[in-house]
Symmetry: C2
Subunit: 407 residues, 2 copies
DNA sequence: TATTCTTTATTTAGTCCTGAACAAAGAGGT
DNA sequence: ACCTCTTTGTTCAGGACTAAATAAAGAATA
């Protein structure tokens, strides 16, 4: 319950770096206010960071009625991070700079059910890292569709991948000798939203993804809620009907079994909207072409999603719901059912909850995973544990040599 | 994001008091471990607290292989707190000692819809306080059925009471010149569970109340989740059907409109199980007497509750669900529907989630409210804001005179 | 132009807390 | 009886952080 001050300096140092990465250059006074520390401390800390080559002083910013601020910026060569998205049939990689911008990306076929998954993934990852830039690699973030017990441990359970207690984190860490942070992919996305997206302006929000599956990342007071065993946000398995299609989890009537991509395609085929070999893109094309049945399928899905999210909004009281995922490509069609269902199911005081739908890119999942690494400096509660400490150490150590601190 | 160390001493001092209140006497070494501070600091802090008359050294506890521990205990006369439960037609008061044990209680008729609510409540509260013991009154905790914007502010919105932005906290504080902490009643109960109940052993749990309404208190990492505007836990208004009875919130198909006390009674009357003038106790009596229709009504309610809670468990991943409230008197009958519905709706990895049903007393709501005051010392994140600080000050100030600290 | 105000940054003295060394007090084995 | 081990509690030097005073640098105003 009490506050542990031991790791404060480290946390504050890297909070500065993360803030600059997420929000761009800022003055010492800005930083002190943003991180809620005294200006005096900020002077001290930034002096060290500048001496170590991680920060540099930029131009003076024009005065706003007082002494003009000397802006501080990140030295962009101070580090990079790699993000990995793992799904059943392929893995995607991205490399990002310390400020979160994407440098390069790649995608490789992959069989998550192979007995050699861990060796395969290690190999692919090693190859991708090898082709990287010269900036020191701070760590690897891995996003998986499933629950991750302790992040520091990286034990993965995933029905989608067919994994049960797979020691992904420990293995990669040993093989690559780098900090590795494993996290549920939607939670990773929530962290990315918090750092770089709409979530910057909110402390309490919900990230909902639609696509193959349906998931949620929950941010409460600025921190991702992981639950007792990293299993929060499994909203795809919220029961929405007593009977219903069989879900991949073995139950009947889960939300995902109604509005997951597979279900939409199945229904569309059944109703003859698309051919037996066609997929979700054909259904979207049909809806785009104003096919009444196709738009109805999306609208029905939107209705069910809206009604379910109303329940979650009542439970958690977020400021905003951010919708993401491959499925947002057809959001226009979802929204006809979604908006009325959501609003009419909310109690009056909650009816105005904001909803944002963001554009989706192929690399978004992997970029979210990379954010895991770049977010660890923010991690005042030390959720990332040892791996977070290692990332911080790498960030500082690599810069020290060029500093010449010794007298 | 960074850690603010200013209020640490205060927080640590009162964390000691709260820990002793919640867990009974403990040694300095125990306290240092429990609060995650150094033994050195514990020595210092307890020295001060003993000198101020808030703590006293008890007998040595028998050695367990090393130097025997000198136990420390609270001076029980160091403070008391008053808890208030507000509902539409009456208010209930309790006075508790600093260790959370109930000293006395009272209940008064009350009209929440009167134009003079605030004056009425102030008067009743003043009368109750006047009859109290001699120990210094640390503050007043008030539990209301509705959402409370900022606790420090105490602005209440409640459909059940017909209140809209009622400045309950500010008014009581001004009139009584005491720290006042206003909170949603289920959240207050969750705090009480965390301090004194089953929740002591868990960091992530759900408190669900059934009775007139249906509500939830959510505890994440040991802290009550309040949402963006204190409106979390309104699970009574989760939509469970597209059509359904009209709910007090104006929507159709809310969970509460199916399994709230009023609904159960309405259905029972409609099916001729109980007389048109009879209430919930008659329905329970019928079920106790093995009336098939009566047991079915409870079982159906249990089914719906179980299915809905499965969704919340998927969303939040708690370790345990604690069921409380007036409705638990008939839990035996609920459980026939509840258990199968809950388990069969959960994904395999979550199927073992624990469920605890606690015995319910009339004073429980008010005792939960009193816990608001006694929990403020625990409040390292300073959620209670100014009022929390005031409680701490009163706890320390009142003891100072008898200490003779001045040299 | 001189004065006042506002905002930024640094220095200084002092507080809170920790780690490490040490003292205290018993259990358990020889 | 004596030594070793374990656990509790205290003392002390030092680090992290703050508040307050001060300096710096320009805007606003008269």
């Amino acid at each position: 319950m009490a506050i542990r001050p031991q790791a404060r300096t480290d946390v504050n140092r890297s909070a500065i770096l993360a803030h600059l990465g997420a929000h761009g250059p800022a003055s010492r006074a800005d930083l002190a206010r943003a991180l809620a520390v005294s200006p005096a401390l900020m002077t001290q800390l930034t002096k060290d960071l500048i001496a170590e080559g991680l920060l540099l002083e930029l131009e003076h910013s024009p005065s706003q009625g007082g002494r003009p601020a000397r802006m501080l910026g990140l030295v962009s060569t101070a580090g990079r991070a790699v993000g990995v998205k793992v799904v059943a049939d392929h893995v995607a990689f991205v490399e990002v700079g310390i400020d979160g911008t994407m440098v390069r990306s790649a995608s490789e076929p992959f069989d998550a059910s192979a007995s050699t998954v861990l060796a395969d993934l290690t190999m692919l990852l090693r190859r991708f890292i090898g082709g990287g830039g010269s900036a020191p690699l701070l760590g690897i973030g891995v996003g998986v569709p499933g629950s991750v017990d302790r992040q520091g441990n990286g034990l993965v359970d995933s029905t989608q991948l067919g994994w049960h207690q797979v020691p992904l984190g420990a293995t990669l860490r040993r093989e690559l000798a780098l900090p590795v942070i494993v996290e549920n992919n939607v939670n990773a996305l929530a962290i990315a939203e918090r750092l770089y997206g709409v979530g910057r302006q909110y402390e309490n929000f919900l990230v909902v993804t639609i696509g193959t599956g349906v998931g949620a990342g929950i941010v409460v007071d600025g921190v991702v809620l992981r639950g007792s065993a990293g299993g929060s946000g499994e909203i795809g398995h919220i029961p929405v009907a007593d009977d219903g299609p069989l879900c991949s989890c073995g139950n009947h009537g889960c939300l995902e079994s109604f509005i997951g991509e597979a279900s939409l395609v199945r229904v569309a085929r059944g109703r003859g909207v698309i051919g037996q070999q066609s997929g979700i893109s054909a259904l979207r094309a049909a809806a785009d072409a104003d096919d009444a049945e196709a738009t109805r399928i999306f609208s029905e899905a939107g209705h069910l999603l809206g009604r379910t999210l109303a329940g979650i909004v009542h439970t958690l009281d977020p400021e905003i719901v951010i919708v993401l995922g491959e499925g947002t490509a057809a959001w226009k069609h979802w929204s006809y059912g979604f908006e009325p269902a959501l609003r009419s199911s909310l109690i009056p005081s909650r009816r105005g909850v904001a909803v944002a739908v963001e554009t989706w890119q192929d690399e978004s999942w992997a970029q979210g995973a990379a954010a895991l690494v770049l977010a660890t400096p923010f991690d005042a509660d030390d959720v990332a544990g040892d791996q977070g400490r290692l990332v911080r150490e790498r960030l500082v150590e690599q810069a020290a040599p060029q500093a010449g601190l010794e007298p």
